[in-house]
């Protein structure tokens, strides 16, 4: 690995892979850093090594990743898998850990393409073994062919829940129930966005197709579910919920939940990129222009890490950022860039058609985002409860960071990745202010843990 590249891409999902293939075609020095052992990101995890039989069960959308990974393998970009980025700053210095050793590299242009994570939504019992995120179930299936053994309950809101149920159905896994917590009132409030969604009808027909197949297979699908709880002594035993005015329970040792996905912004925050609260997507995201440029010269964002638009859109965004970086490096004129990018700009806009409808339809209700159950653990690491957060607000700590200092909420190993959003919602609810005004936890390097020994060794290298 060199200590300087013209372009460094962080993340090996659709955006990162497309950016690398696009930019490296012009002969620049380009490196792609990724945490995973294989290209593909979360959406196309294990796309190169997945056995055919398993790949078929995962569906056609997953198989799209094969072409993308192959194009990346053919391109000239240097590929560094199993490489973690722990620091990024305005000077375009990147702190990395590879083979257990820390080092610093620099770049003229950086594309952050580190994707999305599941929206963490705390509910009673969500820390118990046996409760996991739906994305976790999918990753286990894709990477290891590991699936639920003794049946599973799926609960939450969003397209991934349907897709996972469909994938499990084809893998012969017993889906005990699909509990949809989307408020029934969303069906109405999303209607004004429906006409534009018809332009992306292939997504709608796919979703309806999944539902029909699940129904035919006899999988109980309950809509308008609320008051979700996971109960059991030390392990999940019972999933409790309210449906059509009645309390119901399902015995299960496994519950997979999904409440949509949000951009993984820890690196862009640590770098000092400006972020804004997106009311429709209910999350923070970095501010950027059509090409992915942030407020920091040389740092771009692409893909779901820049705002949730899905895997296909990420591919286009990656190519746009690739063209833009070539323009910034002086290898393309503005005219050449615009000409090369025209199709991706159009396709990326087309991909956006479905989004306003999906965002409105699967809008997570406030009752879930800002739980009123004071005993629910919000910070999984430091085990701070909703009650303690509300108490801190009552004592006058009226934004996320003040609550963090006062309660240690967000100061554990995950650095607030799991509680940041929930804290903002609870503080906003308790103080009667807008979530956008609550701020997000201040992200600082190292955004990924490294030992003091690794840091010290870094200094030794520099002084030689």
């Amino acid at each position: 690995m060199n200590n300087h590249y013209q372009l460094v891409i962080i993340g090996g999902g659709p955006a990162g892979l497309a950016a690398a293939a696009t930019a490296s075609a012009q002969g620049i020095s380009c490196a792609l850093l990724d945490e995973q052992p294989e290209p593909g990101g979360q959406i196309y995890r294990s796309i190169e090594s997945v056995p055919d039989q398993r790949a078929q069960k995962l569906g056609s959308e997953y198989l799209r990743g094969k072409k993308l990974a192959a194009a990346f393998r053919e391109c000239d970009a240097e590929y560094y898998p199993e490489t973690r980025v722990w620091s990024l700053n305005k000077e375009l210095e990147i702190g990395i850990i590879r083979n257990d050793e820390a080092s610093m590299i620099t770049a003229d242009q950086i594309i952050i393409a580190n994707g999305a994570m599941e929206r963490p939504v705390p509910f009673p019992g969500w820390t118990k073994p046996g409760v996991m995120q739906a994305g976790a179930g999918q990753i286990l299936f894709k990477t290891a062919g590991v699936v639920p053994d003794n049946g599973v309950v799926l609960a939450g809101s969003g397209p991934l829940l349907l897709l996972l149920a469909w994938q499990y159905l084809h893998a012969g896994v017993e889906v005990k129930a699909l509990l949809d917590v989307t408020p029934l009132s969303n069906h109405l409030s999303a209607m004004p966005k429906f006409p534009r969604a018809i332009l992306a009808h292939h997504y709608l027909t796919k979703g309806i197709g999944y539902q029909i197949e699940l129904k035919r297979a006899g999988i109980p699908m309950l809509f308008g579910v609320s008051d979700l709880r996971a109960e059991g002594d030390e392990q999940l035993q019972t999933v409790c919920f309210k449906h059509s005015g009645k309390q119901k329970t399902i015995e299960s040792e496994l519950l997979l939940t999904h409440f949509g996905v949000i951009p993984h912004t820890w690196l862009s925050q640590a770098a000092g990129c400006k972020h804004k609260w997106d009311n429709s997507q209910q999350c923070w995201r970095p501010e950027h222009d059509e090409w992915g440029n942030t407020n920091i010269p040389g740092i771009m964002v692409a893909g779901d890490g820049a705002g949730i638009n899905g895997g296909r859109s990420a591919e286009h965004a990656g190519r746009l950022a690739g063209f833009e970086s070539l323009f910034a490096l002086g290898l393309l004129t503005q005219e050449e860039r615009d000409k090369l990018a025209a199709k991706d700009i159009k396709w990326k806009r087309d991909e956006r058609h479905i989004r306003p409808f999906l965002e409105a339809y699967f809008q997570i209700p406030k009752s879930l985002l800002a739980t009123t159950d004071n005993d629910t653990v919000i910070c999984r690491c430091e085990e701070v409860t909703a009650g303690q957060i509300r108490e801190a607000v009552q004592h006058g700590h009226d934004n996320s960071n003040q609550v963090k200092f006062f309660t240690r909420c967000g100061m554990g190993p995950c650095q607030g990745r799991q509680c940041s959003n929930a804290v903002a919602h609870i503080v906003a609810d308790e103080s009667g202010e807008a979530v956008a005004d609550m701020g997000h936890f201040r992200g600082r390097p190292p955004v990924s843990p490294l030992t003091l020994g690794q840091l010290a060794a870094l200094d030794k290298e520099e002084s030689v």
């Binding site: 945490e35 052992p37 979360q42 090594s49 056995p51 039989q53 398993r54 994570m117 599941e118 963490p120 820390t127 118990k128 073994p129 046996g130 409760v131 996991m132 995120q133 994305g135 976790a136 990753i139 286990l140 990477t143 290891a144 062919g145 590991v146 699936v147 639920p148 053994d149 003794n150 893998a171 030390e234 392990q235 040792e253 496994l254 993984h264 999984r380 690491c381 430091e382 085990e383 554990g412 190993p413 995950c414 990745r417 799991q418 843990p449 030992t451 020994g453």
Partner: protein, 102 residues
């Protein structure tokens, strides 16, 4: 809780999970092994000693921390199994690092 679907031509390697020798599929994560071996939980928390298991599987929740080859606080979901690897359930903050006494 979990099982591994049968697959053709998989290479296996040997690991030691909580003192027990096991043959597992090459190229999968420690968390995938722990879950398909029905370990129940993979760590206890330092704050209340409550039991936890892998939650997100994508390296963001840090709930799957285990002791791997004597080193505490390793993310089981982001660590691939290697031949001869020793994997243990982590109690609280886990053991101090080996061989750092100076």
């Amino acid at each position: 809780m979990f099982k591994q679907l049968p697959a053709n031509q998989t290479e296996t390697i040997n690991i030691i999970l909580n003192g027990q020798s096991l043959q597992v599929t090459k190229g999968i994560s420690v968390a995938a092994v722990a879950l398909s071996q029905n370990l129940g939980f993979t760590r206890t928390t330092p704050v209340s000693a409550s039991k936890r298991a892998p939650f997100c599987m994508m390296g963001v929740c840090y709930d799957c921390l285990m002791v791997i080859n004597g080193r505490a606080n390793q993310r089981a979901c982001s660590t691939m199994v290697q031949e001869g690897m020793r994997i243990e359930t982590q109690q609280g903050v886990g053991p101090a690092m080996e061989g750092r006494k100076e």
